[in-house]
Structures are given as C-alpha cells and as structure tokens.
C-alpha cells in the first residue's frame, strides 16, 4: 500500500522541498501577558498536513517555557484518515528512532504498525490548558508546537523527513509583580 503511494507520489512529482505543515492557527484564552497563577487555554489548529514522501503525521509535541506548569489536555485531535487508531495524550514516549517525545498527543496506529501515524491530512484541532507557575522571576512563558511525521520517529523511512520548525504560539515572560513599600512612619 505504501509502496503504491510512493510510486504515485513520484509520478505526480510531489514537490519535496515544501513543508508538511501549513495553515496553522491558535487562540489563547485569555491573551497575555500573564502573571503567576494565570490559567490559559490554548486552541491549536493544524489546517493541512502535506505528506512529504508519504510521511504520515504522528504526533503533536507541546513545548513550554519553564514558567508554565500544570499542562492539561482538554480536547484531543481527531482523525486517522483510513488508518484505525487514536490520538493519545502522553507525557513522554521514546520512539524507535530515539526521538524523545512529550508532552503532547501522539497517534497510535492500531491497523499496521503503532508508529506509522495517521493518514489524515487534517485539519486537526486540539485544546490544552496551562497555568503560570508561582514565581518571583520573569520566567519563560513560550508556547510552541512541533508537528512530527512518522519519518522522524522511525516508523517510516522514505527519503527526506518533514522538518517543519516549531510553530510559535506565545512568546513572553512572567509578569512579576513585586510590592512597592511605603516609607516607614513613626506614630
């Protein structure tokens, strides 16, 4: 099946230099800047996943700055294309290639090989929630997502892998509030 797809792709001269990931978007509820204790919901949508060399999408890796804590998945992505299986939340997983994944969602293919990923090209929507940790320093609050194809995980090896850069959702630092004390008075 995959070989057939490979041949078809070659025949149709798929542009190998194009990115696999496109039409990404996000919504932050609420928008920054953020202070300790703030809770933020992140809605992320991947509009299209182009299957470069038949790389199938397999995981969404969430990258958080040190200022975040309490990452909680709220809405899982859906869609396996023609492939059975599902998107599971995982804090950590080491793929056959040695790729250290997590946290995020990864597709477990129950049809062929677990590491083959999803044949769906999108769109994928998901939501997670994070909380700004209690801190007195302006810690990093960046949020980004890497979309990973099964070529990177060792599930599929057919030429160049998708190597899209992380999609930046938020860049900022904790807004630290330090008290301003009045002068000392004497009754």
């Amino acid at each position: 099946m995959r070989k057939l797809l490979t041949i078809l792709c070659l025949l149709f001269s798929l542009t190998v230099s194009s990115q696999c990931v496109s039409n990404q978007s996000f919504i932050l509820s609420a928008p920054g800047p953020y202070s300790p204790g703030d809770v933020v919901a992140v809605d992320y949508t991947l509009g299209t996943f182009t299957q470069l060399n038949i790389n199938w999408i397999i995981a969404f890796q969430i990258n958080l700055g040190a200022g975040w804590t309490n990452l909680i998945p709220l809405i899982d992505p859906v869609g396996g294309g023609t492939q059975p299986g599902g998107w599971v939340w995982d804090v950590q997983n080491t793929y056959p290639s040695g790729l250290n994944f997590g946290p995020g969602w990864r597709f477990v293919n129950t049809g062929f090989v677990p590491d083959w990923g999803s044949q769906s090209t999108g769109p994928f929507t998901m939501r997670f929630r994070v909380t700004v940790d209690q801190t007195c320093t302006a810690d990093d609050l960046s949020i980004s997502i890497n979309v990973i194809g099964d070529c990177l995980t060792g599930g599929w090896n057919n030429g160049a892998c998708c190597s899209d850069p992380a999609y930046q959702i938020y860049n900022g630092n904790v807004q630290v509030v330090t008290p301003i004390t009045s002068n000392i008075s004497h009754y």
Partner: protein
C-alpha cells in the same frame, strides 16, 4: 495661588500616605512601645528588622505595624529599622530603611538655694532644648522669683524630656537682740 496649591497637594499627600516621619527619626532614650508602620497591603507580609540603638522588636512581626523598645545610648543608628514586604506570591520588594537617632537628655544639677540667691544657669545636654518650670526664664532659674519650695524643672527637646529637682530653702529667721 500656585504655592497654595503646592502646599495643599503636599499636605494631602502626607495625609493619604500617613507619611510623617523624617529620616532620621528621633526617639527618646529608653522609650518603650514606639510604633512604626508602613502602608498596609492586606495580602502582603512584612519582615521587620531592628538593629542598633539597643532596639528590640516587641510586637507585630509579619504585619504592617510593629512596636519597638529602644536603648539608652544616645547616638545616630543608620538603618536601625528595616522592612521587606512580600506579596501574596511570596515575591519580596525592595527593603525600606529608617535611621534612628536615640536622644538622651541630661542637665546640670543646681541648688539648693536660698531665696536671696542670684539666678543660676540651667544647662541642658544636648543644647538647643527648652527649659520650663517655676522660676525659669530662658535658661535661668531665679530662686527669688520661684520662692521657697521644691520645684521640678523640665528640659525638653524633640518630644523628649528630662527633669531636675530644685530646692529653695527658707532663710534663717533671726529674733530680736535680747539683753540678759
């Protein structure tokens, strides 16, 4: 008009912030229960330090208001009181410091006097204070003006006082000359 507005604004500012203490603050030697405070933020905690001047924090650690007992050694003590405020997240602010001048008043001893004695000079230390009491005019005590009796004279400065006791005795009463 501009000056008036400026004065009003300054006064309003002082009232609004309750800030009436000039640095350094002067306290009397061996004063007890002296209260110090900062503007309170209900969610904050306050870590006070009292160093020098024989000061000892008595009550209020953690709050916006403390009481302090002071020692008896006169002098200027830099940063004798300090406070660091921490907000609800535990983040500390910058330390706020206050210098303390411990003022120990003393004076010379005068008397006892007889009603006809000349005026005596009152000497307070440090100089610059004010003498008060019966028979006192400026820095002088006049036994004739005071008359016979026991008097307490007060030397005051910057809210501190010291007292001395002065006695004006009766003069001898001599009877008429008798011839045996």
């Amino acid at each position: 008009m501009k000056k008036l507005l400026t004065v009003l604004l300054v006064c309003f500012g002082l009232i609004a912030y309750g800030q009436t203490t000039i640095n350094p603050d002067t306290v009397c030697a061996n004063a007890v229960g002296e209260q110090y405070f900062v503007t309170n933020t209900p969610t904050s905690t306050y870590n006070w330090t009292v160093t020098g001047g024989g000061g000892a924090l008595q009550t209020g650690q953690g709050t916006d208001l403390i009481t302090v007992d002071w020692g008896g050694v006169s002098g200027l003590y830099l940063s004798a009181i300090g406070v660091i405020e921490s907000n609800a997240a535990g983040c500390p602010g910058l330390p706020v410091l206050l210098d303390i001048f411990v003022l120990d008043l003393s004076s010379n001893v005068i008397g006892p006097f007889c009603p006809g004695d000349p005026s005596a000079t009152l000497v307070g230390n440090p100089a610059g204070g004010v003498w008060a009491g019966t028979g006192v005019t400026g820095n002088n005590f006049d036994p004739a003006t005071a008359g016979v009796g026991n008097y307490v004279l007060t030397y005051s400065m910057a809210g501190c006082n010291t007292t001395i006791n002065v006695v004006v005795n009766n003069g001898p009463v001599t009877g008429p000359i008798q011839h045996f």
